[in-house]
């Protein structure tokens, strides 16, 4: 009666495409586009000046330091955790697995505040920190200092790498590693020659996501960083510029934002390349398609 099933399905598909395109355009592309437009509203030379003030430069540095350290720590941690969770069985494995997801389920602001509770002047870990400082004649501070910013960034991004690797390692299974170890290979050889090639694209993808998130983190860092020009990261600097309210500083806020947006776009492109590569890789090396299942996973 009336339309055939096929036609109905086609129309449904068209509607779905229209809705999602509209959504993406209004919610994602337009705002980003507005950032660029606003950033350039007062001309190129204003733009360049706005992104090179001392506080912005300092924010660049802090962001860079936090991102690089986070990337290194979380890559190492992510690989270790994934191998531990997929290749070993031990008591409390499930608990560890659940704990790993905390950064996803907890508000970053709460994470930041909890660091203050832990390392702040009245915090639990404060006496230990003071003792270490006294003993070594140092003056390390965590809260309201760069170490705090780094810790907060690490905290909010730490599941990204393992989240990407774990499904891949589960999908490939441990047979090859078992075979290699039976032949007398040590764990480093096994990792280098067998485990790593399997997970390298997933790892890279996880690192890209970590970087993207580390660059943009606001909430947790905001709780731990109070000195503009010293411990502010780019997102905090943008916020400060915007809140100061003068017409110039609002444009400056957009100018600095546009830099972050640019970084994001570069990362998006990288991500596309990696996704393409890993898919190709998966079909290239594994006809069962197990691998691609794992890599296609996006949190």
């Amino acid at each position: 009666m009336g339309m055939s099933d096929n036609k109905k399905r086609n129309i449904t598909r068209l509607i779905m495409i229209a809705v999602s395109t509209l959504f993406v355009a209004v919610m994602l592309v337009m705002p980003l586009f507005m950032v660029i437009i606003n950033a350039l509203r007062k001309g190129i030379s204003f733009y360049l000046k706005a992104i090179s003030t001392p506080t912005v430069i300092s924010a660049f540095k802090v962001t860079l330091i936090a991102t690089v350290i986070t990337l290194i720590v979380n890559t190492f941690f992510g690989i270790t955790a994934s191998i531990l969770l997929t290749r070993y069985s031990f008591r409390g494995k499930h608990i560890l697995q659940t704990l790993l997801d905390i950064p996803f389920s907890i508000s970053p602001v709460i994470a930041g505040l909890s660091f203050i509770m832990l390392f702040g002047r009245m915090g639990w870990a404060a006496p230990a920190l003071n003792a270490i400082n006294e003993m070594l004649g140092l003056n390390i501070r965590i809260v309201f200092a760069i170490p705090g910013v780094v810790l907060a960034t690490i905290f909010v991004t730490f599941p990204f790498v393992s989240r990407e690797i774990i499904p891949v390692l589960n999908a490939v299974g441990s047979d090859e590693e078992e075979a290699a170890s039976l032949m007398g290979a040590d764990i480093f050889t096994i990792f280098r020659k067998i485990t790593f090639p399997h997970m390298k694209w997933a790892l890279f993808y996880g690192m890209v996501l970590t970087t993207a998130r580390a660059l943009g983190e606001f909430g947790a860092v905001n709780a731990l960083s109070k000195t503009r020009g010293e411990t502010f990261t780019l997102p905090l600097e943008i916020d400060a510029l915007y809140l100061s309210g003068s017409a110039d500083s609002i444009v400056a806020a957009f100018a600095v934002s546009s830099v972050l947006v640019l970084c994001t776009i570069v990362i998006l492109i990288l991500r596309c390349i990696v996704e393409g590569k890993s898919k190709m890789n998966a079909s290239d090396r594994d006809k069962t398609g197990k691998l691609s299942e794992g890599i296609g996973y996006v949190p």
Partner: protein, 369 residues
């Protein structure tokens, strides 16, 4: 005895996978570990290899207890159920891996790998990756990789399951030849009794975590000792009321296993079987299935269903026809015991076994135990 398993027990949590497993394999033998799916065969193999550890009991290789020797030092080659070839390495690197990790000089590695490539007929495929190989080629690579470091014992976990039925038969023969040529003591796991009977010198039948029976392939086939083995091996037909068959008394046995080759069916005018006529009883053909090299006949004999095979060379027969049926022997079951029971009419009326020898089995047949 080259490999000895003594009182091995193993459980995963409260699930008992091995319960007092005992068996042994001689040097140079090709043994099959046969049992239904999930009965703990892979676990036994993994314990021998040292990937898994028994809760109690001893594993002896070459007379030496190896329980505490790490897997990599047991000199064991392992062919995994799905081969577990290194996906990111070429055929050459796969085979070379076990030699390279042992820090063997480059030139020696190359010589050994080339030798194995020639032996297994993989010439020209050295640079391929595993996904570019056929099932049979993968198996060869897995085999070459496992024996490359010259292990003393080769373990193969279901080496044929990942292969198409078509070439499986060919590969069985290939593997058997290859193992005998290399002369390596080997154990392979299978749940396919045909495969075990065809490939192995010795069969160890396992069920629910313990060994039911072990022995030479033909001994296991001819004389199963337990109910499980007699029902697992061959083409068993279970007959509850076998006292209805001419020449048998049920006594206090519970049931019988009758294989197709224990049953003869002929037409009453068959000259060839004239002497046998008095030993036979009537049966109706219920069904005929063509199996290529034989017909499978389903017969209804005095209320019991029997199966027998018939050569396509013989006279054509049809469903519903009446045949004369003789059951030569069967396995009578009581508890978990299986007893070979001969047709008593033959024993009494044909004490010299003339008819048996003439019509069915030559010397060394079932009468010789």
């Amino acid at each position: 005895m080259y490999l000895e398993m003594k009182h091995i027990t193993k459980s995963f949590g409260d699930f008992s996978v091995s319960r007092d497993v005992n068996f042994s394999v001689e040097k140079g033998e090709l043994a099959a570990l046969l049992g239904p799916s999930g009965c703990g065969k892979t676990t036994i193999l993994r314990m021998i290899a040292g990937i898994e550890h028994p809760d109690s009991g001893d594993i002896l290789i070459g007379g030496k207890r190896v329980n505490d020797i790490p897997a990599s030092e047991r000199r064991i080659g392992f062919v995994f159920q799905n081969y577990a070839l290194f996906r990111y390495m070429t055929v050459y690197d796969n085979i070379a891996f076990g030699l390279q990790v042992r820090k063997i000089p480059h030139s020696a590695v190359r010589a050994r790998v080339n030798e194995l490539i020639a032996l297994t007929g993989l010439d020209g495929l050295e640079k391929r990756y595993p996904n570019e190989l056929s099932g049979g080629q993968k198996q060869r690579v897995a085999f070459a990789r496992a024996i490359a470091p010259e292990p003393d014992l080769l373990l193969l976990d279901e080496p044929f399951t990942a292969i198409d039925a078509k070439i499986r038969k060919e590969l069985r023969q290939w593997l058997r030849d290859m193992i005998h040529r290399v002369g390596i003591t080997s154990i392979f796991v299978t749940h396919d009794q045909n495969e075990a009977v065809e490939v192995a010198d010795r069969i160890i039948v396992t069920n629910k975590g313990s060994v039911e029976q072990e022995g030479g392939a033909s001994d296991i086939y001819r004389l199963p000792r337990t109910a499980f083995v007699s029902e697992f091996i061959g083409e068993p037909v279970i007959v509850e009321d076998f006292g209805r068959l001419k020449g048998f008394e049920k006594g206090n046995y519970e049931r019988a296993i009758i294989r197709p080759e224990f049953v003869e069916a002929f037409k009453s005018d068959n000259e060839h079987f004239r002497d046998m006529l008095p030993f036979s009883q009537n049966g109706i053909i219920r069904d005929i299935t063509f199996k290529g090299n034989a017909y499978e006949l389903h017969l209804s004999v005095n209320g019991t269903e029997l199966i027998c095979h018939r050569s396509p060379e013989r006279r054509a027969i049809y469903v519903g026809e009446e045949m004369n049926v003789i059951v030569y022997r069967l396995f009578a079951i009581k508890g978990n015991q299986a007893m070979l029971m001969q047709n008593k009419n033959f024993m009494e009326k044909d004490p010299d076994g003339i008819n048996l020898e003439k019509y069915l089995y030559a010397e060394g047949g079932y009468y010789v135990e």
